[in-house]
Every structure is written in C-alpha cells, then in structure tokens.
C-alpha cells in the first residue's frame, strides 16, 4: 500500500469502533481522517479540545471563517446542534469522562498500554498539548498509527521515550493488525491477511498474545 492508502486503511478500521451517540476526539494527523469514514447510519459528535463539539469538515476556500478552527488551528465548520465553549469547560468534558473515544497517533505504545508521543529528548519537544488529559480522561483510548517507523518497532515491551500516560491505551490499530490491551498483555485480535502472522510478530517488539485472531475487514 502507498502511504495515503495505509492511512486511509487505518482510519477506516478505526471508524468501525465508533457507536451511535459517541463523543469522539480525533487527534491531529492520521486520526483526523477517521471523520471521513464514519458510517452513515450512526451519529457521532466530534469534540475538539480548543472548544467545540460538532466539529464538521473543512470549509471550501470561500467559506473559511478563521474564528472556527480545530486544535491544529486549521479552519473547520460547526455541525448543526454543535456548540462552542471555553478551554476550562472543554477539559472538564475531557477529564470528566464525557468523551467516549479518543483516537491519537503515537511514537511508541507498549504492552501495558502506556504510550509516548510528546517528546524525543534532545531532538523534538512539541509538548503534550491536550494528549495527557485525553488519554487519562476518555473512556476508550485508540492508538491509530503505522505499525513501525520505517521498519523500527513502535509497539514495544516497554516504552523508552518519556510517557504521555501509563496503562491508558485500550486498542492499537495499524495497517497490519488490531491489538487490544488486556490485563494479561497485548492481544492480537485481528490481522491484515496481506501480511503473515510471522511478519506481524517480527514487526512488533511487544509480546503478542495470539489466540485465533480474525481477519481485519476494511471495506
């Protein structure tokens, strides 16, 4: 798959995790694409931590209103029924467990469900933004990312970069597999059958518990 196909594939699979009525926060980058694949028969409310629920698609050039932006500062629109609020209310919603699902990218995730995505010491220090609150507060945390970083494992026994949060990830979705963090470790629950199980194991540093995984279905 080309890079954009990989991203679309992951985003489509993530969209199947969403349910009618869910309040969902999509991180910048790949997770944002999930919005394009939400099933038509359900209603999902996108929360944006800079202060809105009901985040809609980017406007056409002539309809851009720079007072309506997402958490990346890019112009978006407001869906019918949506509303604006301040940052204190926004993180009350996030930390208070009122976000059903948060979807984020990550640099590393480990088999305890810890993740690292806000700093590479000495190299890159973007900051955590709202990510630490989101993964701590949301009911379900989904990591959506490429399985490796150009062949280098990102799904580890234990994160080596400074953590964003400990033990908060529920599901990891990549172009190779869907993995669930459970009490006893990381379960491979679905795999993309254009890869062999062996290839997936090889691309994963974490110990994968494999017990009759089904095939990833992404239409």
């Amino acid at each position: 798959m080309e890079k954009h196909e990989i991203r679309a594939f992951i985003a489509k699979r993530v969209s199947k995790e969403l349910h009618d009525g869910d309040v969902v926060n999509l991180g910048i980058g790949l997770p944002t694409l999930v919005a394009n694949y939400i099933p038509q028969d359900i209603e999902v409310y996108l929360q944006s931590e800079n202060g809105m629920i009901g985040l809609g698609p980017a406007p056409s050039e002539e309809n851009i209103d720079m007072d309506i932006t997402n958490a990346g500062g890019r112009p978006v629109t407001l869906e019918k029924g949506g509303m604006y609020f301040d940052s204190s209310t926004s993180f009350g919603i996030i930390r208070g467990g009122h976000v059903d699902v948060t979807v984020l990218g990550s640099l590393q995730v480990d088999e305890q469900g810890s993740l690292a995505n806000w700093i590479i010491p000495g190299k890159m220090v973007p900051g955590m933004g709202g990510a630490m609150d989101l993964v701590t507060g949301a009911k379900k945390v989904i990591i959506a990312m490429t399985h490796t970083n150009r062949g280098k494992a990102k799904i580890l026994k234990e994160c080596t970069l400074p953590l964003t949060a400990k033990n908060q990830v529920d599901l990891i979705i990549t172009e190779m597999a869907v993995m669930e963090v459970k009490e006893d470790g990381l379960h491979l629950i679905e795999y993309n059958n254009t890869f062999s199980i062996e290839e997936i194991i090889k691309a994963t540093e974490a110990n994968l518990i494999i017990n009759n995984p089904s095939v990833m279905k992404v239409k």
Partner: protein
C-alpha cells in the same frame, strides 16, 4: 467608555520581569494588536503563560522572536520551531504542562482555590517535584494555582461597561485568564452598546482596560 485607552498607553502597563497571560489557541483568539504594542515597547524578561508558543511571526511567537520572553509556560510549542530552538540553546526557559492542567491551574488562580487533584500526568515527567496524594487507593497529582500580573484578552464584543462576549473557537483560554491576573486588558473587535446579560462571558468587574481593534 471609561475603560477604553489608546494603544499608545499600553506601554505604561508593562514592566521588566512581569508575567503575562495571553489568550488564544494557535493564535486563534489572540489579541495581535496588543502583542504588537508589547513588541514595540522595550519590556524584557517576560514570563508568558499561554496555551502554546504561537506561530512564527504570529501571537506569542512575535514576543519570542524579539527576545522579550524569559520563560514560557505552555502545553505545546510544536508549531513554532523557533521556541524549540531557543529552548535547546538555553535561551528560553520552557515549562510544558498538560493543557487541561494548565487551564485548571489558571482557573484555580482566579477562583481562590489552593490547588486541585488530577490523574493527568501520573507516571510521567509531569510528576517531577509535585506532591502525590493518595485517596481510596488512587493516586493524584496536586497541582497549584497560577496567577499573573496582566492578562491580554481578545473579545469579539465588548460593551460600554467592559463586559465581554467571545464567539466561536476564539473563546478558548480568554475568559479564564481574565479572572487570574491583577490587571486585564482586552482587545475588542467591536465595541457595542450592550450585551444580553445572560450571554456575558467576562463580567466587567474583571476588565481594567479596553482597546478597540483597528483604531
């Protein structure tokens, strides 16, 4: 309107070593005209409290470029590479704080709370130097209030009393920082006669000075 001042008077509100809270999120809802006046002044060693480091040539980014900022307390600096560079060169002190914790610290500063307990940041570098409190077998970080000398706020509508209404996603940090500083200076997009008393988001009692945008 009593609280309205000319932009040329902004420099009188500034002093070296002061702390300033700045409204806006990736420069959306940031009072750019106030920042331009701070850039024009020779005030230095400022501590900035803001969601982010702005963008190159925009928002807080202008103050950082101009070498006026000693310390930045923010949740994210990724969209302004200059901030990262100055930080690694030791020329800018940066405290990175989770966004929800940062806004809650400011709210605590404005509403007279001594601190609050949150799970955000547990098991991460954010713990460093903080007290951990255990309640019913759950751990929490004790986070402390933040206050500053001046808040600079962007209001879409400001009425003759100084009441402020924010619109759309320009609201973000603005109404919260307006509660947590000794003085509050608002850049008004529009000065209006009155605002419906149910919709006022910052009561006039918090507002000290207003400038009118583009004037």
């Amino acid at each position: 309107m009593k609280k309205k001042i000319d932009k040329s008077k902004i420099s009188e509100l500034l002093f070296d070593g002061m702390s300033i809270m700045v409204g806006g999120f990736m420069c959306i809802g940031t009072p750019e005209e106030i920042i331009d006046e701070i850039v024009k002044s020779d005030v230095k060693d400022i501590t900035i409290i803001c969601n982010d480091a702005g963008l190159p040539g925009q928002g807080v980014g202008k103050l950082i470029s101009n070498g006026q900022v000693k310390k930045l307390i923010a949740s994210h600096i990724g969209l302004n590479p200059e901030a990262g560079t100055l930080m690694s060169e030791g020329k800018l002190e940066v405290t990175l704080t989770p966004q929800g914790t940062l806004i809650e610290q400011i709210r605590a500063g404005g509403s007279g709370l001594g601190g609050f307990l949150t799970s955000t940041g547990l098991g991460t570098l954010v713990e460093d130097g903080k007290k951990i409190i255990t309640l019913n077998e759950s751990n929490y970080l004790l986070e402390l209030p933040i206050r500053a000398d001046l808040a600079i706020v962007y209001g879409t509508e400001v009425d003759h009393y100084g009441n402020v209404l924010y619109t759309k996603t320009t609201r973000n940090f603005n109404p919260v920082i307006a509660t947590a500083t000794d003085k509050v200076l608002v850049q008004a997009r529009h000065i209006v006669k009155e605002i419906n008393p149910d919709y006022i988001m910052t009561p006039h009692i918090f507002v000290d000075y207003v400038i009118e945008e583009g004037k």
